[in-house]
């Protein structure tokens, strides 16, 4: 019988029951909503949009691969690896799915990648390269760990307390690449008189490891970071990075399939995880923030997949932007749960830079079509890709993280 589970040792076989729940309806291949108040139809799968073939489109293609691999109808190959590693894990397919496989879709992608690592297949060279050094550097940028806090001016560094209510979990991208976002965040937190600190033994949150199926390596990272709140007597992590937010709030804390408690235990049980936009919105709602200036520009907002679809934080950034004096807010056609990925996630920016930037270009064009002057988002990783696409295409748009927009014009009441 060709439909019997034969490859029982695969990581994917552990969720075989759920993978089988896919009815192959194909909803996941296209974004769609229709009704008295809705009329939305658009391609949302970045991978399918680029590579077209069915296996690349949404989760249905990956289910077919998974089942064929488990049933021994096909074997792992470079072609299979290409399908697995060009998915950004944006979650648009999961958003569209209505059957019982839905919660397991992203987990399925990661399990398949975990299996691919154990086969003799072509893992994207750049992913392999950072994977070789992350255990030593604790970041995927091949930078030295000792330089993680180099972006902090010494005046600020010296003012940081040893223990605080919040740990600002900076993340690797803001620490080593988009340092202005990290700086803006620190300035904002100081202006808002938030009791926070930054720790020099922060390691990569493990998002790149989990998203690319490197479960064994991720373990140390999850355990290490989970010990930080107790060590610094903090009750919460605060992040500006959507990837870190997703990982700390879901992967560390939650049971499968939303998180990885089945592999690493239930971590951070007493630690709150907040995205900066949530903190700012909360303070605004309490009347603790006052605007001291204007931002007189037309702005559109890109939902980071890890903050939006993965964590369902759609409103906090919008509510903040809508309160900024002078700011005219416009939506792109594809927004919120129907947003289109920037193209960087799931290891794609590292593994396939050209395709990643091509995707970001599509998003930038969509932002341009709104007539906005500024494209904003709430993630340093989206920043990298969208900013690079703006430069590459000589787009008239300017990219600013939402924190960079508000930091100069607020104070604590």
């Amino acid at each position: 019988m060709s439909h019997l589970l034969k490859n029982k040792n695969l990581e994917i076989a552990k969720i075989y029951d759920y993978v089988s729940m896919c009815t192959h309806c194909g909803n996941c291949k296209y974004g769609y909503e229709y009704g008295p108040d809705a009329n939305f139809a658009a391609m949302l799968c970045v991978q399918g949009d680029k590579f077209n073939f069915d296996s690349y489109r949404g989760s249905r293609g990956k289910v077919s691969l998974a089942r064929s691999l488990m049933h021994n109808r096909i074997g792992f190959s470079d072609a299979v690896a290409h399908v697995l590693f060009t998915c950004t894990g944006c979650g648009a397919c999961q958003q569209m799915c209505e059957t019982d496989i839905k919660p397991y879709i992203l987990r399925m992608f990661e399990a398949l990648r975990a299996d691919a690592w154990k086969q003799n297949v072509k893992i994207p060279a750049n992913i392999k390269a950072w994977s070789d050094t992350i255990g030593k550097n604790y970041n995927p940028y091949k930078e030295k760990h000792e330089k993680r806090l180099d972006w902090i001016p010494s005046s600020i560094k010296s003012s940081l307390p040893k223990k605080a209510e919040y740990i600002y979990f900076v993340g690797c991208t803001a620490s080593y690449r988009q340092k202005e976002v990290a700086l803006a965040t620190v300035r904002l937190l100081q202006k808002l008189k938030v009791d926070f600190t930054i720790v020099d033994d922060e390691w990569c949150c493990a998002s790149p490891l989990l998203r690319t199926g490197q479960y064994d390596t991720a373990k140390d990272f999850v355990e290490h970071n989970s010990a930080l709140p107790d060590k610094y007597k903090a009750s919460a992590f605060i992040t500006t990075c959507s990837g870190c937010y997703r990982t700390l709030s879901r992967d560390y804390k939650m049971d499968a399939p939303e998180g990885y408690a089945d592999k690493y235990g239930k971590n951070l049980p007493n630690t709150k995880v907040l995205h900066t936009t949530q903190l700012v919105e909360e303070m605004m709602n309490k009347g603790e923030i006052e605007f001291t200036g204007k931002f007189a520009q037309k702005v559109t907002y890109h939902d980071p997949c890890h903050l939006g679809r993965h964590a369902e934080v759609y409103d906090a950034p919008r509510n903040i932007l809508k309160k900024v004096p002078g700011l005219e807010f416009v939506e792109m056609y594809r927004n919120k749960k129907f947003s289109f990925c920037c193209g960087a996630g799931g290891g794609v920016r590292g593994g396939f830079a050209d395709y990643s930037l091509e995707t970001a270009t599509k998003r930038v064009k969509e932002a341009e079509a709104t007539g906005a002057q500024v494209l904003t988002s709430a993630c340093p990783f989206c920043y990298t890709n969208l900013h690079d696409a703006i430069e590459m295409n000589k787009s008239p748009l300017k990219f600013e993280d939402i924190i960079q927009i508000i930091e100069p014009i607020v104070k604590r009441k």
Binding site: M1, H3, L4, L5, Y16, D17, S20, M21, C22, T23, H24, C25, G26, N27, C28, K29, Y30, G31, Y32, E33, Y34, G35, P36, N39, F40, A41, N52, F53, D54, R73, M96, C97, E98, T99, D100, I101
Partner: protein, 445 residues
């Protein structure tokens, strides 16, 4: 398994692939989204899957003559969004908002063209017939590589109708992609009626519900009238079989009313109530019941990703779903229901049956949703056996399976008129001398 997959973007690319395949005698299987339930895109003999998704242009929506022209890759999602955004009008003078087409309950990513050329079923079928009756023109590439236009589009750029020409579109409609690759399709579209309502009634037996349905649709006042057996009305469908509670109705029915004014809806409702009262007076056992609002939405807001997802079925079993879907004279519904019920229960399956009327009093659909556990070979086999047995039992009663998988096709061919089979083979040979297009699916070549 296919040996190759190609994704042409243009008609010329299709011609090239077909010429090469014809020369080398390689099978070519047209494919859009592969959501047909009959395995119609599963190659019987390997070959080339021709995936037409990249041909995704809505070429024209004519809001005055009320037709649209599309390529094969246009999904229900994209087409419905475009139709909803275009308004019926005459020289800029708009009459109403948005156009409708016969939307099925399938996934919104499925191809409109693939559905329509294979006698697809949609929500307007009670009013205007099934979707292949709404076609107005076609461009097709023959297996030998020639491109032909059929209908008014063969003479001008107007794609409004096949009539009064000979109906050559019949050579490519209902043939399951075995005679040509359709590259453009013209279809009538219909102004969306702004007022909608759903009326519901249940019945004690298949006989009772059929009496009511035949009476009601006699007046051609509804867009759709459908009945589902108790097992199909459960969410999720009962799997494996379990007995219905004694006091529960055997069938539940809904009918969709649409109109231009509330008065029109009120009038249709009055007529509907009159039918129900008259049937009750004759002794037909009809039982009052109300649809929950969510279920009403599922009937009036199509195409729907929720309805098309088969959500209800995956939960109950192991993600497998199939059905013997057939067109049948309504007279046969109660007779076949009793036969099918016996067959399904014998195989441990629920008789999750549906009746739907097409186009007034002329014909209808009879099908039985069949969940099965994909992980259990015995469950797969039981479903397969039950479905084939149902088809065999139905053919003498005038029932014909639509989009039939090879198993059903073999049942049909075994009892078909010899002249019909001769002509089928002759047409296939004429159009496809090397039998390269989706070979094996018709069971004659």
């Amino acid at each position: 398994m296919p040996d190759y997959v190609v994704m042409p973007k243009t008609v010329t690319e299709i011609q090239r692939v077909l010429r090469l395949a014809n020369h080398r005698k390689i099978p070519v299987i047209p494919y859009c989204n592969g959501t047909n339930i009959g395995g119609l895109c599963v190659p019987e003999e390997g070959g080339i899957i021709m995936d037409l998704k990249r041909m995704d242009q809505i070429i024209k929506i004519d809001p005055e003559t009320c037709y649209a022209v599309i390529e094969p890759g246009v999904s229900h999602a994209a087409f419905s969004a475009a139709l909803k955004a275009s308004n019926p009008q005459w020289k800029g003078n708009e009459f109403s908002k948005g156009f409708d087409f016969g939307w099925g309950v399938h996934p919104a990513s499925a191809s409109v063209l693939a559905m329509a050329i294979n006698h697809g079923i949609g929500h307007l079928n009670g009013r205007i017939g099934i979707n292949s009756q709404l076609l107005t023109g076609m461009e097709v590439v023959l297996p030998t590589g020639e491109v032909c236009k059929l209908g008014s589009c063969a003479y001008s750029d107007s794609w409004h109708s096949y009539l009064p020409l000979p109906r050559m579109d019949g050579l490519f409609t209902g043939w399951l992609g075995t005679t040509g690759i359709v590259t453009k399709l013209g279809m009538w579209i219909f102004p969306i009626r702004p007022f909608k309502d759903v009326c519901t009634i249940a019945a004690a037996s298949a006989d009772d519900i059929t009496k009511y349905m035949v009476h009601w649709r006699h007046y051609s006042l509804c867009d759709e009238v459908t009945a589902v057996s108790w097992w199909l009305a459960q969410v999720p469908i009962v799997f494996p079989y379990r007995e219905k509670p004694k006091d529960a109705p055997e069938f539940y029915s809904y009918t969709v009313l649409t109109g231009w004014t509330q008065e029109e809806i009120d009038y249709k409702k009055k007529m509907w109530k009159q039918v129900v009262a008259q049937e009750r007076a004759k002794g037909t056992k009809l039982i009052d019941f109300e649809y929950p609002p969510e279920a009403k939405k599922g009937r009036t807001e199509l195409p729907s990703r929720i309805v098309g997802s088969t959500k209800n079925y995956s939960k109950s079993c192991g993600g497998g779903i199939a059905w013997p879907g057939t067109f049948a004279p309504c007279k046969s519904w109660p007779i076949l229901y009793e036969k099918w019920k016996e067959i399904y229960i014998r195989h441990g399956l629920s008789p999750a049956t549906r009746f739907t009327d097409y186009q007034g009093a002329h014909y209808g659909m009879l099908r039985c949703m069949t969940p099965f556990n994909k992980r259990d070979p015995a469950s797969v086999q039981a479903a397969r056996d039950a479905m084939v047995e149902c088809v065999r039992a139905g053919i003498p009663e005038g029932m014909l399976p639509y989009k039939p998988p090879v198993e059903y096709q073999n049942e049909l061919n075994a009892v078909a008129d010899a002249g019909y089979l001769y002509l089928t083979a002759k047409i296939k040979d004429m159009l496809d001398p090397n039998n390269i297009l989706n070979p094996g699916k018709l069971g004659v070549r």
